[in-house]
Amino acid sequence: MGAWSSVLGGFPRSRHVRKVLRDYERGSVTHGELEAAVAEASALLIGAQLAAGLTYVTDGMVDWHDIFRPFVESWRNVTPTGLLRYFDNNYFYRIPLFTGKPEPKGLVLAPRVRRFAKLAEPAGLKVVLPGPYTFAAMSEVRGLEREELAEAIAKLMGSEVRAAVEAGARAVQIDEPLLSDQEAERDEAVLAAELASKVAKEAGEAKTILAVYFDVPKAEVYEALLEAKVSCLSLDVIDAPERAAKLIASKGLKEGCAALGLINARNVYDDDLGKLEELFLSLTKGYEGEPGVTTSTWLDLLPYEYGIRKARILGLLAQRLGVR
């Protein structure tokens, strides 16, 4: 059957990037020097993904402190504040504090795409952005309703996506990890799907992927997400394979395209490709759409070497399945 492949999101930072970022924060390195170091690191990560044979590659987002930060820093009326645990990870993000409707000062994604799209060929460059629902729900909001904020974020993300695709992005991933929460309700998923659809509408011909990870969503949440007007729905399978299998058996995969997070991005052992192939074949049996394989989550919370190794293992799995 074959499968397309892509790492779900960002990569860990190399020792060099960590050092340059630290030096930049201390003021001993200029912004230009920091940008150069990040560009080099990104090029290397793109090369690693190309060598692994992945269909879509990311630039690694090694300069992002958390998934929200680059947007928080390029919008008005929002600022990063205290730290809060990021899902079930021993890792913390800074809670964005919105004091009004966000207004853009500049674009986050398009300049990166302009820099790396050619380098990524023959693979397609994928851009990743936080979904408006997760973004708004994981922020502190003053002076406006949370839903109003989510709508405003969707609008800004739409502009980001339009510019990124014009600049050469071939895939757009909208991350809604909060929808994997077992407390999430159908209404929230309906809203998240609507907002993701609005963002995806701006992506033209690029593949759009709605990604839910860190757990397997509840059936009613998944059902609502299946309605999102995106090309593809991506699930974290390996966090709870039995529940994922049950969910897929009862509700099916998204018509047209579905991505399965099979490579464990939160542990360092080498994944058993034989077992994963078996799992992939059982989950996609009879599926007529276009299946993809991904890492279960971003790779950014692994040590650097293991992050690169996991990309390679993903490539080997895709090769085993037959690359589409």
Binding site: E25, G82, D88, F92, V268, P303
Partner: protein, 329 residues
């Protein structure tokens, strides 16, 4: 000997902003410039400062501020057999820690916390100092496992190692033993809650000290029915940050242990006023879950991420509010 108030004793979860002496000691130990023994001595001035801050604020049951601990998991991993030095993994922003890797069977080797507990106790003016250990579930979840590949086997070996440390602390005189399990609420599944119960049975069986488990944030209400019979005397829980969401559940499930509840939010830089902390205490009392004799007042979680001055002021107002509550209830 200091007499802990019978109603609304105040306490802390454990960690406190790092003082420069501790930071420097950790750096020098990592660079291989000092031995473990020298490291312990180098940290003591920082512990002294942390203890002095607790005393200044008037906290009844204090800690050593966990000044020696670069991270709550790494500290223990570096001192147990079976852990390999991990590689750098991000914890926030551009801050990294060496996430430990379990590479062989885990075993306790020698006391890990007793020396600093003793030192803190010697300068605490009689106030009890908690013996605080990272729990087996959190140690397991926040390490990479390349050896066991079986969570039950892994957590039970960790429990056996932690049990040895608890025995050492109790032998040294610790009256309060706290096991920290922040990871539990991030994966609120019945099987995980039950796995931890089995581990806590090993850790606390027959232990003659107050047995405490600290759990914070996340969706704890989902697993409350499976944890309330844990073999502990006290649950130490975050409350303010989640707007006391747990209280009705505790009431519903007939909570009958001591409750140490978060009355100040460690994720906010704003210092709560005495009145605000009092209101938090009132809220817990109104919920009718525990009486004043079983209610301990404390911050939601460890204070290590706060600036020192803010941590001090938060503790001070917490203590003043508890004093007022003692008159009121």
């Amino acid at each position: 000997m200091y007499s802990v108030p019978k109603k609304f004793p105040t306490t802390i979860v454990g960690s406190y902003p790092k003082f420069s002496a501790a930071q420097e000691a950790i750096r020098r130990r990592k660079a291989g410039e000092v031995s473990e023994e020298e490291f312990r001595e180098l940290v003591k001035p920082a512990i002294r400062e942390a203890v002095e801050d607790h005393l200044w604020a008037g906290v009844d049951i204090i800690s050593d501020g966990e000044q020696a601990r670069e991270d709550m998991v790494v500290y223990f991993a570096e001192r147990m057999r079976g852990y390999a030095v991990g590689d750098w993994v991000r914890i926030f922003d551009n801050e990294y820690f060496r996430k430990p890797i379990i590479s062989s069977r885990l075993e306790w080797v020698a006391p890990m916390t007793v020396d600093h507990w003793r030192f803190a106790s010697s300068i605490s003016q009689g106030r009890p100092v908690k013996g605080i250990l990272t729990g087996p579930y959190t140690m397991m979840e926040w390490s990479f496992d390349l050896h066991y590949k079986d969570r039950r086997e892994l957590i039970l070996d960790l429990a056996k190692a932690i049990r040895r440390e608890v025995e050492e602390l109790v032998r040294a005189g610790a009256q309060y033993i706290q096991v920290d399990e922040p990871a539990l609420s991030t994966r609120p599944w019945r099987e995980d809650a039950e796995l931890l119960k089995e581990a806590l049975d090993i850790i606390f069986r027959g232990i003659g000290a107050k047995r405490i488990v600290h759990i914070c944030y996340g969706k704890l209400e989902k697993i409350l029915p499976y944890i309330l019979d844990y073999p502990v005397d006290q649950f130490d829980l975050e409350m303010v940050n989640s707007d006391f969401r747990l209280l009705p559940y505790l009431k519903e499930y007939g909570y009958n242990k001591e409750l140490a509840f978060g009355a100040v939010d460690v994720h906010k830089l704003q210092v709560e006023s005495v009145e605000e902390v009092e209101a938090a205490i009132d809220r817990v009392m109104r919920a009718d879950v525990v009486g004043p004799e079983k209610a301990y007042v404390k911050p939601d979680c460890g204070m290590k991420r706060l600036p020192r001055e803010i941590a001090r002021e938060k503790m001070k107002n917490m203590v003043l509010a508890a004093q007022r509550a003692r008159e009121k209830y």
